[in-house]
């Protein structure tokens, strides 16, 4: 009897030990798009780089797990998460109600407005509202008034957006019928078409536009229009995890909070975006 008790206790002890070790040394596979500079992109050497790659490495250090960041096309990034191809998404993905129906989010770890990228010599460069900030969630009327004002100039123009994003939803809701909206697979693709003159403006996240403006080919372009956040544009950018993966969500949440508190998020944001995108808590 005593012997059995000892053995079972020993067995119990060893299982607990293994369980603990597994949680610590676990590998978390994180998907990113790899085509959304400066959030995440494929650098000159073919390696993934950007704000989210640096942040993922920092968060994984805090969570004491090994991380593997993989590239995945934006189109299928949520279905593939739910198909367990990886465990988390860090791809500049805004936390929206629609997405929350299918996945959970940890965070947010960033919050940035949208804006228009246009040529400096185009009539659109005089778009009203440039430099003004509105929250579509809390100041809906004022924000929609600002959008209306910018629409007058966009009449009959062609606007490029990345498909499956908050920006394409925004364009569907506010620009349809005013401008022709074209959907691209990546921000790189609509930037190319803007440079080629096929479209008159790009509607995207301000950080992505700032990243584009760094390139020498875009020296004659500018970020214009009102800076809009909130509402259908979501409540910041977060880490997407499968519904029910509460343990991972919790450890990401804690790590993000810690990284915001000690200024790491701000440091990385200034490094990659030149502006502070730390979400207000």
């Amino acid at each position: 009897m005593n012997f059995i008790k000892t053995v079972s206790l020993a067995l119990l002890g060893s299982t607990l030990a293994i369980g603990g070790a597994a949680a610590q040394g676990k590998t978390v596979k994180i998907a990113t798009e790899g085509a959304y500079a400066p959030w995440n992109f494929t650098g000159a050497g073919g390696k993934l780089e950007g704000f989210e790659i640096d942040l993922a490495n920092d968060l994984c250090g805090r969570m004491k797990v090994t991380c593997e960041v993989v590239a995945q096309d934006w189109d299928g990034i949520i279905p593939a998460l739910n198909a367990k191809k990886y465990d988390a998404i860090m791809a500049g993905m805004s936390i929206t109600d629609d997405r929350k129906k299918v996945i959970d989010f940890a965070g947010p770890y960033a919050n940035s407005p949208n804006g228009f990228l246009v040529a400096k010599n185009s009539p659109l460069a005089k778009m009203p509202g440039t430099g003004e900030a509105y929250n579509l969630g809390t100041q809906k009327a004022a924000a929609e008034k600002a959008i209306e004002a910018s629409k007058a100039l966009l009449k009959g123009k062609t606007v490029g957006v990345q498909g499956s994003t908050i920006h394409s939803n925004f364009a569907d809701k506010y620009l349809k019928g005013t401008a022709e909206v074209r959907e691209y697979k990546s921000t790189e693709a609509h930037d190319l078409d803007l440079a080629a003159g096929r479209i008159d403006a790009v509607l995207a996240d301000a950080t992505a536009i700032i990243g584009t403006l760094e390139k020498p080919e875009f020296k004659d372009y500018a970020l214009v229009g009102p800076s809009i956040t909130g509402g259908m544009l979501g409540s910041g950018v977060g880490v997407g995890v499968r519904k029910g993966d509460q343990e991972l969500k919790k450890s990401f949440d804690e790590a993000i909070q810690a990284a915001i508190k000690d200024g790491t998020v701000k440091k990385l944001s200034l490094k990659w975006f030149k502006i502070d995108t730390t979400p207000s808590t």
């Binding site: 190319l192 080629a196 003159g197 096929r198």
Partner: protein, 241 residues
């Protein structure tokens, strides 16, 4: 599997069919003309023309259509000043025409080989017989060579048309909202990839089923000599016994 959702998706995807068919048939029509020219160049016996057609087929058959679309759309987009000077930018500005151009150049290469095969399969005796009857040149081509060649090439050409219908799905990468483009958009709104792609696949199946039937009917109409005279035959067999 949510059938109500799939039905809604089906109805939404129907609006992409006109563009899918438009891209397919416009490019197949232009491609057929191009293919005919290329096939005749190959068979002309003139070295330069033959060499050009060979090189063309080699390049367009040997590179992926996706790469061709990217090169024509994004690649040529970088040469806007030159294209504007030549007055071609109006054409290359539009994603629709870039898609048509890429699909046409591609199908032209494949179809020219199919047509060449058809033309070469025309039995020599029939050409000789026609010549003996006094036909030559275009008359010989129009009355004897071309009809026989078309009959021979049709089954392979039918496959090419079906391949083109499926190839139009690549146009969605240059912002064309055909069936696949719409499917991707619906997936982005609903995150239900499996159901949406099943419905999209089903739509292509229906389209291609209709196309195969039309080609089969055309084949039947072109080959009266292969049709079995149904009422006469049993009697003939009986007579042999």
């Amino acid at each position: 599997m949510d059938f109500g959702f799939m039905w809604d998706t089906f109805l939404q995807l129907l609006s992409g069919i006109p563009l899918t068919l438009n891209l397919s048939f416009t490019s197949v029509a232009f491609g057929a003309v191009l293919a005919m020219v290329l096939a005749l160049m190959r068979m002309s016996g003139i070295r330069a023309l033959d060499g050009f057609a060979r090189a063309y087929v080699f390049v367009f058959r040997g590179t992926p259509l996706l790469v061709q679309i990217f090169l024509i759309y994004y690649g040529l987009g970088q040469f806007r000043p030159t294209l504007q000077e030549w007055g071609l930018w109006v054409f290359f500005r539009e994603p629709y025409w870039c898609a048509i151009l890429a699909l046409t150049l591609n199908t032209g290469a494949y179809a020219s080989e199919i047509i060449r095969g058809g033309l070469q399969s025309v039995p020599h005796q029939q050409v000789e017989a026609a010549k003996a009857c006094g036909m030559s040149g275009f008359l010989l081509f129009r009355r004897i060579v071309f009809p026989i060649a078309v009959r021979q090439a049709l089954p392979a050409y039918g496959s090419e048309i079906i391949l083109m219908v499926k190839a139009t799905s690549l146009a969605s990468i240059i912002t064309m909202m055909e069936v696949t483009g719409l499917a991707a958009k619906i997936i982005s709104q609903t995150f239900r990839a499996v159901e949406v792609f099943i419905v999209a696949g089903l739509i292509y199946l229906i389209l291609n089923f209709a196309i195969t039937r039309i080609i089969m009917a055309f084949e039947w109409w072109l080959s009266p000599h292969l049709r079995r005279p149904s009422t006469v035959e049993p009697r003939l067999e009986a007579a042999h016994v």
